[in-house]
């Protein structure tokens, strides 16, 4: 398909409201926050249930034999999807587990430093904090980032931090850098290839937190060449929650062990990460039907539509609110767009995520997270194949009402 033929916000093709029936939404509910917990089509749920039933007919055969064939099949398909060697992949529950898997396996010596960006996800930064707490003289170097910022400026900021550290000449060493591919709140697509190369050039290992990447942007790990990479299939790939993909470059595999050591300890990466103890593997199995569902349309079509919708929808909302979106450049937007909220008093008691959430859910039966960044409030909206521009218009009007009321009640 040429890009001229791919679905867009203006020409949804197979997407838009006609997709709603493929999903599990109740009649009166519109999902604007796919980015937080994802959702999945009915066929994926049906398939998950089918796996569940199949296993129960013979749990021994499943746990002792067929599970491994199925896991290998999934890893093979995903390795094609993300362009890497299947043996460099492991299936884990979610990004938090993936981050902990690597960070709690790596050996950190006194003097080691871990570089993160201030816009990194809270669980990631807390895990780094835990590593610092449990080691002697291991510290975090946090690069302050405020959006909007151009790719060039972001890279300069990070490089400045690297240079500053080098100047210290105190014997400490930046062992690992953790960078988002697409951050959470605010949601911004980072110049991840340049970040990986920059950190490598300073001798640091790089862990790409790609929680939001697979299914939202094309992923090519042979091109990107991170040391470690984690992505949630249950976010933008449409699998059931609790299905994520961890990439560990072969040269590091001997160092990395699961967060829960099992009987396969010391048997090599593939075996150590094959068996995670007794659990319900149906979430992981659902990756197969998620891929099948998406193949009907093709990745290009899905990504083209959702990206275009995020841009157009974001513009429409900003117009209604009389504000702007966070990122002036289109390439910083994947499927999620951050729209500024015209809240006058930033210290208003209701100007916080929780209070705004309650109003949205109780009064309007919608939800998009609202957060403060820099000197403004924003809300993050997730485009998806089941949405259309008019949904963003409706959401814009809802937010306008909410903010007007808030401003009036100062």
């Amino acid at each position: 398909m040429t890009s001229a033929e791919l679905p867009t916000a203006a020409n949804p093709g197979p997407f838009g409201h006609q997709q709603r029936k493929n999903f599990l939404f109740p009649e009166n509910y519109t999902q604007f926050n796919h980015g937080s917990f994802g959702t999945f089509p009915k066929v994926v749920q049906d398939d998950m249930r089918a796996w569940h039933d199949r296993v129960e007919k013979n749990p021994d055969l499943w746990m002792r034999r067929d599970l491994y064939t199925a896991l290998d099949d999934i890893k093979t398909q995903l390795s094609e999807f993300v362009n890497c060697d299947m043996e460099e992949l492991a299936l884990v529950t979610n990004t938090t587990v993936g981050i902990n898997t690597v960070l709690r396996s790596l050996r950190f010596d006194p003097g080691d430093r871990i570089l993160v960006l201030s816009t990194g996800y809270v669980s990631v930064n807390q895990t780094v904090r835990y590593i610092c707490d449990t080691h002697t003289d291991v510290k975090v170097i946090e690069v302050p980032i405020t959006f909007p910022i151009s790719d060039k400026d972001m890279l300069t900021r990070v490089e400045d931090a690297l240079k500053q550290h080098k100047e210290l000449k105190d014997g400490s060493k930046i062992k690992l850098g953790i960078v988002d591919w697409i951050s959470s709140v605010p949601s911004v697509v980072h110049p991840v290839k340049e970040l990986v190369d920059l950190l490598h050039s300073y001798g640091a290992l790089v862990y790409v937190d790609g929680a939001h990447s697979i299914g939202q942007v094309p992923v090519d790990l042979s091109y990107l060449r991170p040391d470690f990479y984690i992505t949630n299939c249950h976010k933008w790939l449409f699998s059931v929650r609790g299905s994520a993909l961890l990439y560990v470059a072969k040269r590091h595999q001997h160092l990395i062990h699961p967060t829960s050591i099992t009987g396969e300890y010391s048997q090599g990466f593939a075996r150590e990460f094959g068996w995670a103890g007794t659990q319900d593997y149906s979430s992981l199995m659902s990756i197969l039907s998620a891929l099948t569902f998406r193949k009907q349309y093709g990745e290009d079509a899905i990504i083209s539509y959702t990206h275009s919708l995020a841009l157009e929808g974001g513009k429409a909302m900003a117009k209604i609110l009389g504000t702007q979106t966070l990122t002036p450049d289109d390439h910083h937007v994947g499927n999620m767009v951050n729209v500024a909220l015209p809240i006058k008093d930033l210290n208003h008691p209701k100007a916080n995520t929780k209070a705004l959430m309650e109003i949205l859910m109780d009064k309007y039966n919608v939800f998009t997270p609202a957060f403060r960044h820099g000197d403004k409030f924003y809300t993050r909206v997730s485009a998806q194949i089941y949405l259309e521009v008019q949904d963003f218009v409706r959401l814009g009007n809802i937010w306008k009402e909410v903010v007007d009321e808030l401003n009036a009640s100062a």
């Binding site: 109740p26 007919k57 021994d60 055969l61 746990m63 938090t96 007794t278």
Partner: protein
């Protein structure tokens, strides 16, 4: 003080045993239960102990939670999930007689063991005591701790059945005393002890063991993977330092649902295997109630499992399964011309180990489990694990409410045929 763990001796169980279901009088149990589960026609499940199974009603309950989440994922995760998890913990706290806030819901025992072991601050000179019959994942986790710390070592107590309860306690205490006598500056910091071991399946004298170990100042982590739903649990009475049990084994919840007990005095130092946003929030509950985005319906299915069991009562279920294991084991031993592993009935919960009369203990076809797994499943459409212990070959059979004595007789004949064939190959 009770030195054995009698099935109906604890304060919650007052029903006279003569009125409870038994192999001779199954009451609501036996083959009529099959329709409540997923077993296909012609397949009998003799290995409940490995991976458990759940009822159709429990699966419905799991799907209810699954669908509820999908109706409004944000509302579910941000508002409704934690109260639902708290309700499960409340029910389990009542079930196990402890404080609800001392419980954390985790995926399985392996996770529970790693949670504690990878949180504890082991220092050079620390020793970790374990039994040779401990579960492999636990053993490997202890090895990992030793690999990643300086001068932290394992002290392994060899346990070869048959042993009486008294002998088990004695063997372990002797090893502890031998260690003390060395006076080499090392200290036994922690002991990992099975309540009911896996292979061989032996119900240990757990109260006596906990008391004895604590009397030496050793922290006790009870691996109770098999306990809940198989034996009554009273954590106030038992008083371990840590305990983990799988609800998806004998309680009938869906796989991926276990509960970890961490008394308040330790909660500051115990963190999840996956650190998340609530780290250092000061709240054990917050740190453990959210494990990142995952499907919580398997954990919540514990509610469905407890509901199913309430129909019959714990006493009835436990009594039937236990009597069936004991009598079924005797029947099988009779058919095979052998014996059961455990000298005393109180060492059997719902799993019984029967000796297989193989002539050559080094027969090539039993060097790995593969041949027998395939043979039993493909030819006989059933499975019970087999293993070597103490120089002999055994099979472990799990009784359940969906089994009857006739099933054990059938299995006995199957094993006889299998072993006779293996013995014939040899000569």
């Amino acid at each position: 003080m009770a030195s054995t763990h009698s099935q109906v001796s604890l304060q919650t169980h007052r029903t006279p045993t003569s009125s409870l279901p038994s192999p001779a009088q199954p009451g609501p149990f036996g083959h009529k239960q099959r329709k409540n589960f997923f077993m296909p026609e012609g397949k009998t499940e003799f290995n409940h102990g490995s991976y458990g199974t759940f009822t159709r009603s429990v699966q419905e309950n799991m799907m209810k939670w699954h669908n509820l989440a999908e109706e409004n994922p944000d509302r579910w995760v941000r508002l409704d999930l934690k109260p639902a998890l708290t309700k499960v913990r409340t029910q389990l706290a009542e079930f196990m007689n402890c404080d609800r806030d001392e419980l954390a819901l985790v995926q399985n025992t392996t996770v529970g063991v790693n949670t504690v072991l990878r949180s504890l601050d082991f220092a050079p000179g620390d020793r970790i005591l374990q039994l040779s019959t401990g579960y492999i994942s636990v053993d490997k986790t202890v090895h990992y701790i030793c690999d990643t710390h300086r001068d932290v070592q394992i002290i392994e107590v060899p346990i070869v059945m048959p042993l009486t309860d008294h002998e088990i306690v004695f063997h372990i205490e002797k090893v502890i005393q031998e260690h003390l006598a060395k006076k080499d500056g090392s200290r036994i910091r922690l002991a990992m002890i099975d309540w009911i071991s896996s292979v061989p399946a032996v119900l240990h004298p757990i109260k006596a063991l906990v008391d004895m170990l604590r009397s030496y100042g050793i922290l006790v982590f009870v691996d109770a993977a098999h306990a809940i739903g198989q034996v009554p649990i009273d954590l106030t009475y038992l008083n371990p330092d840590f305990l983990i049990t799988n609800c998806h084994k004998w309680l009938y919840s869906v796989r991926g649902s276990a509960v970890l007990f961490v008394p308040k005095r330790f909660q500051n130092s115990i963190h999840p295997t996956a650190i998340q946003g609530d780290y250092k929030s000061g709240s054990f509950e917050l740190e453990f109630s959210w494990n990142g985005t995952m499907d919580y319906s398997t954990i919540l299915s514990i509610e469905g499992a407890l509901d199913f069991r309430k129909q019959y009562g714990e006493d009835a279920i436990i009594h039937y399964c236990h009597r069936l294991a004991v009598e079924g084991g005797e029947k099988m031993a009779e058919i095979l011309g052998t014996n059961v592993l455990t000298p005393h009935e109180q060492q059997v919960g719902n799993m019984v180990n029967i000796r297989l009369p193989i002539k050559n203990i080094n027969h090539p076809k039993i060097e790995t489990p593969d041949y027998l797994i395939r043979l039993l499943l493909d030819k006989y459409n059933l499975f019970a694990p087999s293993y070597k212990h103490g120089g002999y070959f055994w099979t472990r059979v799990s009784s359940q409410i969906y089994l009857e004595l006739g099933d054990f007789v059938h299995l006995g004949h199957v094993w006889k045929e299998v072993i006779d064939e293996l013995n014939a190959e040899d000569s």
